[in-house]
């Protein structure tokens, strides 16, 4: 309440000084008036006393009794009748009689003129002297006039003034206190508001108590707080922003350690909040990202934006998109830290992969659908001519004698027409998605069958066709023999086409397991021109062909693969351009071999 005491002291001085001065002046003036009045009264009395003494002396006696009577009840302390020799002849107090008046008063008193007065404020009386007209001459009457009543009046005034001053000061103090309390209440609110604001409570507002200057001050304080709240970012606010970002947000020191990381960062990097702080960030990223961040740290690069990989524990890696830049201070000077945001791309990558797979699947389905339409139309058109050829051939075989030279030709026509009819049937079933009829076949018989059928082509192309028998007896496969034979024939035909005269094509059969499934691998290896690497991924695509227009349908290998897969197997290829190609047809072994059913 220092302000109160300052204000009170000011007010007190302002009030007390005039009162004190005024009282002093007034008391002095009053005292003077009273004194003058007392002296005037006393002078009259002195004249009366002088007259009484003169009258009494004339009668030959000192009117001691009447003098005392005259002076009692008046403001007279005492009176002396002083002889010409300066000795006190008569006094109201008999103890003074006979003593020299100069003992009590300096010599000059004796020489006082008529009606001279000595005022002794110290002893609070005044001395009036008057000469007495009695013989012998030079007798004088000294009267001590009591001035204490004047002093008393002055004291009363002073005491009254002091009391009044104190009363006024008390009232003023009380009033001032109340006024200040009212006035300082809002100031106290402001003080508390400022203290809380300094502590960071930006949402705190002070009450606006009145529509006066202090009310306006409170309002402007509140406006300032609101403005601060909207523009100033508090630590809590920053913390909650950092925690809410749905990406890994990390702060790095330029020296290479992680200073801060949000929860998402811990999640993506597979580290806990305690262990990640202080870890070198180079451990987190792949080489390219680390190098880029290093450039940002060194200041040779302002921003890094790139896709990369975060290394999580246990050899896992998380694909991320990283943005890294230097933390800039208010004056745009780079600070000692880097801020790095890593966006998790796992979901995106999964979706992309899924989309790619679906597109691939859709593409395959579309290809197969158009293939199916083609095959259906084609087989419909083929069935009639095949029927006619087959009919004539069978009819002729039937009526041609066993030893006729044309009979083998007719038998061959019938066989090939039957094979063609079977293939068309298989194609048709395949395009309809109807499972082909399966039977147990020995891999060797499949090889023998296709070798027999391709022998002529090999001879024409002057290519050696070699069959390497398996070392051991191979288990039978449960397949549609027609489909597998045509798959093999396609592969073998391609091998023969690709191999120049003098080359060699080797057919092999051997046991081979895939993913813990027993099976058989039928391989066709040629010493041909090989397949260019850019062509290799497409060789199984329907309608893809490298043969001149009109010579290849682009369906051969596509069907081979479809047939292989329809029978639970697959086809793979290895090729070295200029050296040759090896195609492998893998088929699963039959679960339960039925020895009697071998074709």
């Amino acid at each position: 309440m220092r302000l109160f005491w300052k204000a009170y002291l000011g007010v007190a001085v302002v009030i007390a000084v005039p009162i004190t001065l005024g009282t002093w002046v007034a008391a002095d003036a009053f005292s003077e008036i009273r004194k003058a009045s007392l002296i005037t009264e006393a002078r009259i009395l002195v004249q009366a006393l002088a007259g009484e003494i003169e009258t009494g002396h004339a009668k030959g006696q000192w009117p001691f009794e009447s003098l005392n009577r005259f002076t009692s009840g008046k403001n007279i302390l005492s009176w002396w009748v002083v002889r010409p020799d300066g000795r006190i002849h008569l006094a109201s107090d008999s103890r003074f009689m006979g003593s020299a008046a100069s003992d009590y008063y300096p010599a000059e008193a004796t020489t006082l003129g008529e009606r001279r007065a000595i005022v002794d404020w110290v002893r609070r009386y005044t001395l009036l002297t008057t000469p007495l007209r009695i013989v012998p001459s030079r007798w004088s009457l000294w009267v001590f006039v009591d001035l204490r009543s004047a002093v008393r009046a002055t004291r009363q005034i002073t005491v009254g003034a002091i009391a009044l001053t104190l009363l006024v000061l008390g009232v003023v103090g009380a009033v001032l206190r109340e006024v200040l309390r009212k006035a300082l209440g809002p100031l106290r609110d402001l003080h508390e508001g400022a203290t809380r604001l300094a502590a960071g409570a930006l949402a705190h507002r002070v009450p606006v108590r009145a529509r006066d200057e202090l009310g306006e001050l409170a309002e402007s304080f509140n406006r300032m707080s609101a403005s601060l709240e909207s523009t100033t970012v508090s630590r809590d606010y920053v913390d909650s922003i950092v925690a809410s970002v749905d990406s890994a947000l990390m702060v790095f020191s330029r020296s290479g350690s992680i200073l801060r990381a949000n929860e998402r960062a811990c999640d993506i990097t597979g580290r806990s909040g305690e262990t990640i702080v202080g870890e070198p960030w180079s451990e987190l990223f792949d080489e390219a990202l680390s190098a880029g961040i290093q450039e940002v740290a060194a200041g040779t690069r302002s921003v890094l934006r790139r896709e990369g990989v975060i290394r999580a524990p246990e050899g896992k890696s998380v694909p991320v998109y990283v943005c890294c830049s230097a933390v800039r201070g208010r004056d745009d000077r780079p600070e000692l830290a880097l801020v790095c945001v890593a966006h998790d791309l796992r979901d995106q990558k999964r979706l992309e992969e899924e989309r790619r797979r679906l597109q691939e699947e859709l593409f395959q389905k579309q290809k197969m659908a158009s293939l199916g339409t083609l095959v259906a139309g084609l087989s419909h058109e083929l069935n009639n001519p095949l029927g006619i050829i087959l009919g004539y051939a069978q009819s002729l075989v039937k009526r041609t004698p066993q030893d006729a030279p044309s009979r083998p030709a007719l038998v061959a026509i019938e066989k090939q027409a039957t094979r063609s009819a079977g293939l068309v049937r298989a194609l048709l079933d395949f395009s309809r998605g109807k499972p082909a009829e399966r039977q147990l076949v020995s891999p060797d018989s499949l090889l023998r069958q296709v070798t027999e059928l391709s022998k002529g082509q090999a001879q024409r192309r002057e290519v050696e066709l070699q069959v390497e028998a398996a070392q051991e007896a191979l288990p039978a496969v449960d397949v549609c023999a027609q489909e597998i034979a045509s798959a093999l024939l396609n592969i073998l035909g391609n091998a023969l086409d690709a191999t120049a005269a003098g080359g060699r094509v080797v057919l092999r059969a051997g046991p081979a397991s895939r993913e813990d499934r027993a099976g058989v691998e039928l391989s066709v290896a040629d010493t041909g021109c090989g397949i260019a690497p850019e062509v290799l991924p497409h060789i199984f695509d329907p309608f893809f062909t490298t043969k001149p227009v009109g010579q290849g349908t682009g369906l051969g290998l596509a069907l081979s693969r479809q047939f292989a897969e329809a029978n639970g197997g697959d086809v793979s290829v290895e090729s070295t351009p200029g050296q040759g190609t090896t195609m492998r047809l893998w088929l699963p072994s039959a679960a339960v071999p039925r020895a009697g059913a071998l074709a």
């Binding site: 419909h380 009919g391 069978q394």
Partner: protein
């Protein structure tokens, strides 16, 4: 004396030729026409033991000819020859009306066995009505 009389209705000349060649060689009497209208006319002109009716015929499709035959000669034996792929699915409605169905290309011996069985059935039916 022929083993039986067949009428071939097929729009493909070589198919007609092949069937005539084979069954004539086997001792059957075979006539051939190129569409359904001619086929119905031939049936009206002379009786046949079995009609070999192609499914895909111009002017009047095989099943429609079959319906007409069934309406006019309910006991006429008819074997349908299809091209292996039918829009109606694996078992088209007309298979129920026909006495036999074969998908082209078929082994000729199979058709021969089917025809002989039908002739045998007809002979049985004729002797034991």
């Amino acid at each position: 004396m022929t083993r039986g009389r067949f009428l071939v209705v097929d729009d493909e000349e070589d198919m007609r030729g092949m069937l005539c060649f084979h069954f004539a060689g086997e001792g059957f009497a075979v006539d051939a026409v190129e569409d359904g209208v001619s086929g119905l006319a031939a049936l009206a002109a002379a009786p046949y033991d079995v009609v070999l009716l192609d499914v895909h015929l111009p002017r009047m499709s095989g099943p429609v000819v079959l319906q007409e035959i069934r309406r006019r000669w309910p006991t006429q034996l008819v074997v349908m020859l299809s091209s292996g792929i039918e829009e109606d699915g694996d078992m088209p409605w007309w298979t129920a009306l026909a006495d036999g169905c074969l998908d082209k290309p078929f082994p000729i011996g199979e058709l021969e066995r089917l025809l002989e069985a039908l002739l045998h059935r007809k002979a049985q039916g004729a002797t034991t009505p």
